[in-house]
């Protein structure tokens, strides 16, 4: 296939009955089956829910700012922190990651559309309506109030008699089905719709990670969906799956939830790893160091995800035998993740770095995520877990992983791909302001929570006594939270102004490597007419620099030739 390019087949009927230029405005978006529009709608949805979920937690932080505060009632407090956690995980992080996946996977593999465009739209709307249904519970008598992992027996009718938990089940079931269909779509698209010539080992790392993520979703979400259905049966039809007095098992809920929940952690982090891999490479002007190791450790993480979930239950009392095994296996998880961290460091080493905002978030991620990773390894040690479980140390850990990992990945992806998606450039000065505000606010909020947790402050209590240091640390945490809130508002302002009147973006503003930059910014309805031949993991760069193409220097792909 020397020096050939490949004509990309056009989708048969991309937007049935509606032209992209139609004057139908919103209707055209609502009825769209175009993967780019759906991806963008996923991202808007995530932003909307992020504002709501952020507002909820700011109310919680106000309540916690001073000891013995009476700003929120205990009932309202329970509902707010539950909705915050559930929203951020299921309706912010997941849709945003899938939004990027659905937008960019077809572009990166040289396809014009996802495998099942209508299914794609169904996934989006199921997720949106799942979220809306869950929020409807506020009007229907009370939101879910048993925490985002909704443990039995607290989720049972006699402990949580408002319909909130029912809405939790129904909303997450809907969203879960949407996530599964989106994953099926991604798997089929990646396996079948790569441009001929693109082997698995030529796929961009982001595509690899989305493939692994989708497989993880397919393997893990059934456990959650089954648990939710069982819980609904318990609550509505008086079944006894989790009702101990009726012969059920409360621990069964935990098993089912974490059988889903631990892979979910990797579902949320692997796509972010993919985004970072693209960004480190492009802004270091080097191929990603150790492509095979990044992909291989991704596969290892995906496989290990199912062998460690019991470490969420070390304090349940399953016995020392069980705890010992899962403590050991959980520590091993650090190895593949550590491999990736060193891969990214080595990618930057010797590169000519460009500190764009996307790259700044990527570098901040290395620091923050490592903090979260280390506190995670600490939790794998059973005595530490017994001491710190259900304290603010856990809260700090989960936020260093999910914000320092997933959310920074989303921000990095947003700043990297925004010009491609919108055709506009973001204001660089404001973007840097946003970066610093958010990073400082984030560390201000959560770094001190490590201390609070070690001092013994339990999570999920609506107020606390005036013990030495607690008030001050909580006040710092609240101030940090408001800083993040301000940064988020700034982000919204930046996005809206850039879309309205930002400077036009060129097709390839970062001189990037992968195929999505080979089309216009924003891409036309038909992504590609034709694409350059793919003979390495950096096909667009090969096309731009034919004399220096990667496939001419086989060692280069492994990152050994420097720039």
């Amino acid at each position: 296939m020397a020096n050939t390019t490949v004509l990309v087949p056009e989708p048969a009927r991309p937007l049935p009955g509606l032209s992209i230029n139609s004057s139908q405005g919103l209707l055209q978006w609502i009825s769209s089956v175009d993967h780019k529009q759906l991806g963008i709608m996923y991202l808007w949805m995530a932003l909307l829910f992020m504002l709501v979920g952020g507002l909820e937690i700011l109310l919680v932080r106000v309540q916690l700012a001073v000891p013995r505060n009476t700003f929120l009632s205990p009932e309202a407090y329970n509902q707010l922190f539950t909705m915050h956690g559930t929203t951020m995980i299921f309706f912010v992080a997941m849709p945003a990651l899938f939004g990027f996946g659905i937008y960019f996977v077809p572009l990166m593999i040289g396809a014009n559309e996802m495998a099942f465009p209508r299914l794609n739209a169904l996934s989006l709307w199921l997720t949106l309506f799942g979220g809306s249904l869950m929020y409807f519970s506020f009007l229907a008598g009370g939101a879910p109030d048993a925490g985002w992992f909704n443990y039995a027996p607290l989720n049972q009718f006699n402990y949580s008699s408002s319909p909130g938990v029912d809405y939790y089940c129904a909303g997450l079931l809907l969203a879960g089905i949407g996530t599964i269909t989106a994953s099926i779509n991604l798997v089929v698209t990646i396996l079948r719709y790569r441009i001929p010539g693109m082997r698995f080992k030529d796929m961009p790392v982001f595509v690899w990670m989305m493939l692994l993520t989708a497989c993880l979703v397919l393997a893990s979400f059934p456990a959650l969906n089954a648990a939710l259905a069982m819980l609904l049966l318990d609550r509505q039809l008086h079944a006894h799956f989790f009702d101990v007095t009726g012969g059920g098992s409360a621990v069964l809920w935990q098993h089912l939830f974490w059988l889903f929940g631990h892979p979910e952690v990797y579902v949320l982090i692997l796509p972010a790893f993919g985004i970072f891999s693209e960004i480190f490479a492009v802004f270091s002007r080097k191929p990603v160091f150790g492509y095979a190791f990044i992909v291989g450790s991704g596969i290892a993480i995906a496989l290990l995800a199912f062998g460690v979930w019991v470490h969420h239950m070390l304090a349940v009392g399953l016995g020392n035998t069980v705890n010992g095994f899962f403590s050991a296996s959980s520590m091993l998880i650090g190895i593949p993740t550590g491999i990736k961290i060193f891969n990214w460091l080595a990618t930057m080493h010797g590169g000519s770095l460009r500190f764009t905002v996307a790259m700044r978030f990527a570098i901040a991620f290395l620091v923050e995520f490592t903090i979260g990773g280390l506190s995670g390894i600490a939790f794998a040690i059973v005595p530490i877990d017994l001491q710190l479980t259900d304290t603010y140390f856990v809260v700090a850990h989960i936020h260093y992983v999910f914000i320092g990992g997933t959310l920074f990945g989303l921000f990095a992806g947003l700043f990297y791909w925004f010009p491609k998606m919108s055709g506009r450039l973001l204001d660089e000065r404001l973007s840097k302001w946003f970066f610093w505000l958010f990073v400082v606010g984030f560390n201000g909020t959560f770094l001190v929570q490590h201390v609070l947790g070690t001092l013994g402050m339990p999570r999920r209590v609506y107020t606390y006594p005036d013990l030495p240091g607690w008030g001050l640390l909580n006040m710092i945490s609240t101030a940090g939270g408001f800083l993040m809130g301000a940064a988020t508002l700034l982000l919204v302002y930046m996005l809206v102004t850039a879309i309205r009147r930002g400077p036009l973006a060129p097709a390839d503003p970062w001189d990037a490597y992968t195929l999505e930059w080979a089309t216009t910014s924003p891409p036309t309805l038909q992504n590609f007419d034709r694409v350059p031949p793919v003979r390495s993991a950096r096909p667009w760069r090969d096309h731009k620099r034919p004399d220096d193409a990667d496939h001419l220097k086989p060692g280069k792909k492994k990152g050994v030739h420097g720039k």
Binding site: N3, T4, T5, V6, V8, P9, E10, A12, I20, N21, D34, K36, I40, R192, Y193, R194, I195, P196, G197, F200, K201, A219, Y291, A292, V295, G296, I299, A300, L303, L304, F306, G307, V322, F325, F326, A328, S329, M421, S422, G423, R424, L495, I499, L504, A505, A507, D508, A518, T519, T520, S521, P522, P523, T524, D529, R530, V531, P532, H543, P554
Partner: protein, 306 residues
Amino acid sequence: MHSPPSIWAQWHASPALLLLVAGLAAAYFGLSGGRWQARGGLYFTALGLLALVEASPLHYLGMHALFSAHMVVHIVVLLLCGPLLVLGLPPALPSTVARRLARFSGWLRGHTWLAWLAGVGIMWGLHVPAVFDASFGGLDAAFGLPALLPVVAMLLAGALFSWPLVGPTAEAHLHPLAGVVYLFSACVGCSLLGLLITFAPADTYQHYARAGWCGTPSLAPDFASNPWGLSLADDQQAAGLIMWVPCCFIYLGGCMYLVAKYFMADEGVAPPPAPPLRGRGAIRPLTLASVRLPSPAGEGPGVGLH
């Protein structure tokens, strides 16, 4: 007080085991034409391991006292010995044997599910409580033949299971990435069984629940005085967990081996390209001169955030 005989002295090689190991060693030299060939070390490592786990105090513990020790033996035989025997087969075989093996590999390639089922099925089958307890029935029989039956079955199943991945005919191997799926799904199958055993009632396996078995009461796991102080429940949990967690790491090791193999495969040999999209027009290769890539912004209506 009765003091138990030292565990470390419990080496027992049944005649049947010795015959099996000797037979397998003879088979190697029969196949290799009496010569030592490449990777022979793997083959004989497998035989050494087999002899070790079947004759050593570990085996004695497994048969008489600890389910967890028994599980270690199972896993070594099934997941290490079986695959190592296949990996260590002599590369240069007599032509008739090579032809037969190639035919078998080709057939198995079309029936990969059988190999998968052998590997996972033997685990599940042997740990059905009734089957499990029955497998201890013939311990004292002549030559130890009945006791060796499960071992032979596991060796065969392990060899069959690994055949599509590392069998002697490279052309009949699964694609390494398909191999990852193959191993991963098997891992899930075994994890589920391990999970069941871990959380099953402690007397599920009657063999270990019977105290004073085989005249060594102090080794019976429901005696608090056994050397490790393991209760029956702890022991069964440990057995389940060994199948669940470390066993997974063996499969994971296999997956990593396959991934490494895939990425280290010759760069020049490209696998066949992805099939064309069905029903969406032909894909025509074009010369580079005719590449028409879209020019920067402004060309045509865009799908943006507008």
